[in-house]
């Protein structure tokens, strides 16, 4: 059978990629084989555009037990326990079918965690949506937000994992291309770690979980192309999730692992049966032979092509020790799940797919999993059209400006979203959503894991390299504010079309900036996800790298964000910092009040940032801070407001030569707002580290006052902040 150029390009393969396939096989591929190559060599599965640059990221430290390349990274947290965590995107499906797209995004990352043997204990989400108030796209954007939040809520709540935090940002560039990045973290003992490796020649290959249907075929290649008018017709490419099935699969897998009969296991995610078979074989340098007639199927008449490419959810592939199959079957039967031997581990390094005995595909596992073409795509100057110069601006009413920023989509309370998530199940959440970092205690040890998820695409649009560094710094600061030591990171790189040199340049610079910062802050990246082709009708999203960083701390009641009592000293650790009009261009003030984007992101001095973080950890862990909150979106004015929303506010004086708009709203990093009953002790620690820690005022009940610039009641700020999102969604 001769394949046509149309059939090749329909699989998103170039003609030269096709020629490489012919060369690797030594013959023309069959149609099924072409489909298999199409998904495995897709951007989504092969990272072919990003791989050369991802190598620049730091991946090692004393605590890293498993780095990139497995289903999730693993970090030692002491006492013979370890955590597995990773972030993954489900952007394209969430645009086409928001509810199922987001739900299966949660399902997919949870499987990545428990396939390694870890029990998931926390989920967080980074969400990006288009404008809710846009006359043309607003209604659709609201529908997407509603669908995504319901999807996450549905899946996570039913599965029984707490959704403990995250972030949600609105930009016009996400109008036709929302982002849904889901982070998950799990825990296990060192001797409970499993790998996706098909070892032991002759061992049975077992399929477990849901039956295979026709859903999600081509999901991975769909995620590797831009959106056009026809994309909505791809709804059948989106998978349908069943969190109940996933919960059963979790319990059954963890129980089956305890039998000792399992030698390797991998979930079927993107590219389904294809990916799990060839990756397990490739990692173990073995072959896998399966016969599709044994694959549990939801409908009759599926072709080998469809079975191999289906992305039906809640399925796992495992390799058991020969002769101990029954132990595995017994566990799955107890949980009411399908389990079937579908093949055998071979010694020839090949993926051989039979259908009722007849060979329908025969490809080397390495060719599929490791020999996809790698491109060093041309990159020029990062795309940007924003001017460097600031527009003329002068505030007429700083209180009104503050209220406007507080009630804007990015800054306002996200309670409407996170109250739909069960963020407490498993009774480990000591700090839930809405704080700088989420904290989950580990019952089995005396330690807790703090985690922070952050991205800032405005900064990255203005300067991808510096923007990426600022994101890493912010995540680490969020952890330090609660007293946690940052230890490791995962990243989700959401960008446009890498075949455009100015987009590729954004990706390259962001990765390099991230690499510098992660080395500096000693947070190696143990895994992550790259989502490219985030473009609709030729318009790319802002470069949106999202970082998830985890930290370790002693289990204790967390230091709150909000002021706890009146009459306490308010300290601005790190000082008010410097800024200018050019550096204001990427801030919330520029976005919401001046309605523009220009200039550069805030300036970051990494050494200074690190010192501030060391100092705040020392202060918090000595119990000297009654409250602590980092300054980020909206700068000082917003941080002070958020710290006041428990009803205790503050009267402060900022001694500065900066104009009030800059002093209040610039977003310079390395600053933390504290309240304390022992300012001298706090200042002594700050002085030891050589950083500023001015006492700027005192906490007072019900009032918010800064210089002669703003003086108002807490309630007049809290109301708009609290209700803005709900009102915007009406």
């Amino acid at each position: 059978m001769k394949l046509t150029p149309e059939e090749v390009s329909a699989h998103r393969l170039t003609w030269s990629e096709y020629e490489k396939i012919v060369q690797l096989l030594g013959r023309e591929p069959s149609f099924t084989e072409l489909g298999i190559f199409g998904v495995m060599w897709s951007e989504h599965c092969s990272y072919k555009s990003s791989k050369v640059h991802l190598k620049k990221l730091p991946t090692k430290s004393k605590l890293v037990l498993v780095g990139p390349g497995e289903n999730a990274g693993i970090i030692d947290i002491g006492n013979n326990y370890a955590i597995a965590f990773k972030i993954e995107s489900h952007n394209h499906p969430s645009f086409i079918e928001p509810f199922q797209g987001a739900a299966t995004g949660v399902g997919g990352i949870l499987r990545d965690i428990f396939t390694m043997g870890a029990r998931p204990i926390a989920v967080m989400d980074a969400l990006r949506f288009g404008r809710l108030d846009d006359p043309e796209t607003g209604a659709r954007n609201k529908q997407i937000l509603n669908g995504v939040v319901s999807g996450i809520s549905h899946y996570g709540n039913c599965f029984g994992v707490p959704t403990v935090g995250g972030e949600c940002v609105f930009e016009p560039c996400y109008d036709g291309n929302p982002l849904v990045n889901v982070f998950a973290l799990g825990i296990f003992k060192h001797d409970e770690i499993f790998f996706g490796r098909a070892t032991g020649i002759g061992n049975p290959v077992i399929y477990v979980g849901a039956k295979t249907g026709k859903d999600g075929i081509h999901g991975a290649s769909m995620a590797s192309e831009e959106f056009s008018e026809e994309s909505k017709d791809k709804r059948p490419n989106v998978q349908v999730g069943d969190p109940f099935m996933e919960k059963l699969l979790l319990e059954a897998c963890l129980e089956a692992m305890k039998t000792g009969a399992i030698v390797g296991i991998q979930d079927m995610g993107a590219a389904g049966l294809t990916c799990s078979t060839c990756e397990m074989g490739s990692r173990a340098e073995t072959g896998i032979e399966i016969d599709l007639k044994y694959v549990p199927q939801r409908e009759t008449g599926m072709t080998p092509y469809e079975i191999m490419l289906s992305e039906s959810q809640e399925r796992m592939l495992l390799v058991a020790e020969k002769g101990r199959e029954q132990e595995v079957f017994d566990v799955f039967k107890k949980w009411g799940l399908d389990a079937a031997v579908v093949g055998t581990v071979m010694d020839d390094g090949m993926l051989r797919v039979r259908n009722h005995g007849e060979v329908v595909a025969e490809i080397s596992n390495r060719a599929l999993a490791d020999e996809a073409p790698i491109y060093d795509r041309p990159h020029t100057k990062p795309h940007r059209t924003a001017p460097m110069e600031a527009p003329e601006f002068a505030s007429k009413d700083l209180t009104a400006d503050l209220r406007k920023v507080l009630s804007s989509g990015d800054v306002c309370s996200k309670e409407w979203i996170f109250n739909q998530y069960d963020w407490m199940v498993r009774t480990n959440t000591t700090q839930g959503p809405g704080a700088d970092a989420a904290i989950v205690r580990i019952k089995e040890t005396n330690s807790s894991v703090a985690m922070s998820l952050d991205g800032n695409s405005r900064y990255c649009y203005l300067d991808p390299r510096e923007g990426a560094k600022l994101i890493v710094a912010e995540c680490c600061r969020n952890l330090s504010v609660v007293g946690a030591q940052p230890i490791a990171a995962t990243n989700n790189l959401n960008f446009g079309n890498p075949e455009r040199p100015e987009i590729m340049a954004q990706l390259v610079e962001a990765i390099e900036g991230m690499s510098d910062a992660c080395q500096f802050f000693e947070t190696p990246i143990t895994g992550g996800n790259v989502s490219l082709y985030n473009e609709t009708l030729g318009e790319a999203i802002f470069p949106t790298p999202v970082m998830g960083i985890v930290g370790l701390m002693k289990t204790d009641s967390p230091t709150p964000v909000k002021f706890q009592s009146a009459g306490r000293s308010v300290i601005l650790l790190g000082g008010l910092g410097e800024s200018d009009e050019v550096r204001l261009g990427g801030t919330q003030y520029a976005k919401v009040v001046i309605e523009s984007l220009w200039g550069l992101p805030p300036a970051l001095d990494m050494a200074h940032e690190k010192t501030v973080q060391v100092a705040v950890r020392e202060i918090v862990n000595a119990g000297l801070a009654e409250s602590a909150h980092d300054l980020s979106d909206g700068g000082f004015a917003v941080a002070l407001a958020e710290s006041s929303f428990g009803g205790i506010g503050a009267k402060v004086t900022l001694e500065t030569t900066l104009r009030p708009e800059l002093a209040l709203f610039h977003e310079g990093p390395s600053r933390i707002l504290l309240s304390t009953s022992d300012p001298a002790a706090v200042q002594a620690i700050a002085a030891k580290h050589g950083i500023a820690a001015p006492v700027i005022g005192e906490t007072v009940s019900g009032q918010y006052a800064v210089n002669d610039w703003i003086d108002c009641s807490i309630e007049s700020l809290h109301g708009p902040w609290k209700t803005a999102l709900e009102e915007a969604l009406r």
């Binding site: 549905h154 059963l248 407490m424 000591t430």
Partner: protein
């Protein structure tokens, strides 16, 4: 005192309940698999929260047919102490151990937050350590917690002093602000809030301890 915590496929607060009674209250606790009829000599049974059978058909509608529920019904009929939290409350209603039904929240959204409860009666093994009108902060986490029953039943519940807890600020549209009720024999409690999630200061509240403390002392003086 020995607690039995029932595990259905899809239960996900089973471990939380187990942890609350064993680690935070120092009692013994054991899991009871849905497919068995053996209550393993438990002195009290907890039907935990979660999504038993994926909430397919209706919340709790399939769980009531589990073999373990036959034993739970017999146990309750003999005066045994049974409590259901969240999905457990839904199951107890479906199983006919408690009257009424739990429908979709009035706002049509899942809600997870701390709520304030008012103790409706101190005359029960689950609330004897409380005083009537006392406020407790306990979390809710449900999509179907809107309590419904016909007027006759509601009147009867009130007349017989069987409303264990009411919401101070009704989050889900429950009739007469009902958050938890007792059976006629006062030995079965169903409530939508999660007392097992409020048994240690670290996770935000200890007010849920009152339910377990009441029960433990009721059992000791039985």
């Amino acid at each position: 005192m020995k607690f039995g915590v029932v595990v259905f496929p899809g239960s996900n607060c089973d471990h939380d309940a187990w942890y609350a009674v064993s680690k935070n209250h120092g009692q013994s606790a054991e899991f009871l698999w849905h497919d068995s009829e053996d209550l393993k000599g438990s002195d009290a049974i907890i039907i935990p929260g979660g999504f038993s059978y994926g909430d397919y058909l209706r919340c709790g509608a399939i769980a009531r047919f589990s073999p373990i529920m036959n034993s739970v019904k017999k146990f309750a009929a003999d005066g045994g102490l049974v409590m259901g939290f969240c999905n457990g409350f839904q199951i107890l209603c479906e199983a006919g151990l408690l009257p009424g039904a739990l429908l979709r929240n009035a706002g049509l959204k899942f809600i997870c937050q701390q709520v304030v409860l008012e103790v409706g009666t101190a005359n029960s093994p689950f609330t004897n350590a409380a005083s009537v009108g006392q406020h407790l902060t306990v979390p809710i986490a449900h999509g179907e917690g809107c309590y419904q029953a016909d007027e006759r039943i509601l009147d009867q519940l009130e007349a017989e002093d069987r409303i264990a807890f009411r919401y101070v600020d009704n989050p889900n549209g429950s009739m007469r602000n009902i958050a938890g009720i007792l059976s006629e024999g006062r030995n079965v409690l169903g409530m939508m809030p999660h007392p097992e999630r409020a048994t240690e200061p670290l996770v935000g509240s200890t007010d849920g301890r009152l339910v377990f403390d009441s029960l433990i002392s009721a059992f000791a003086t039985k």
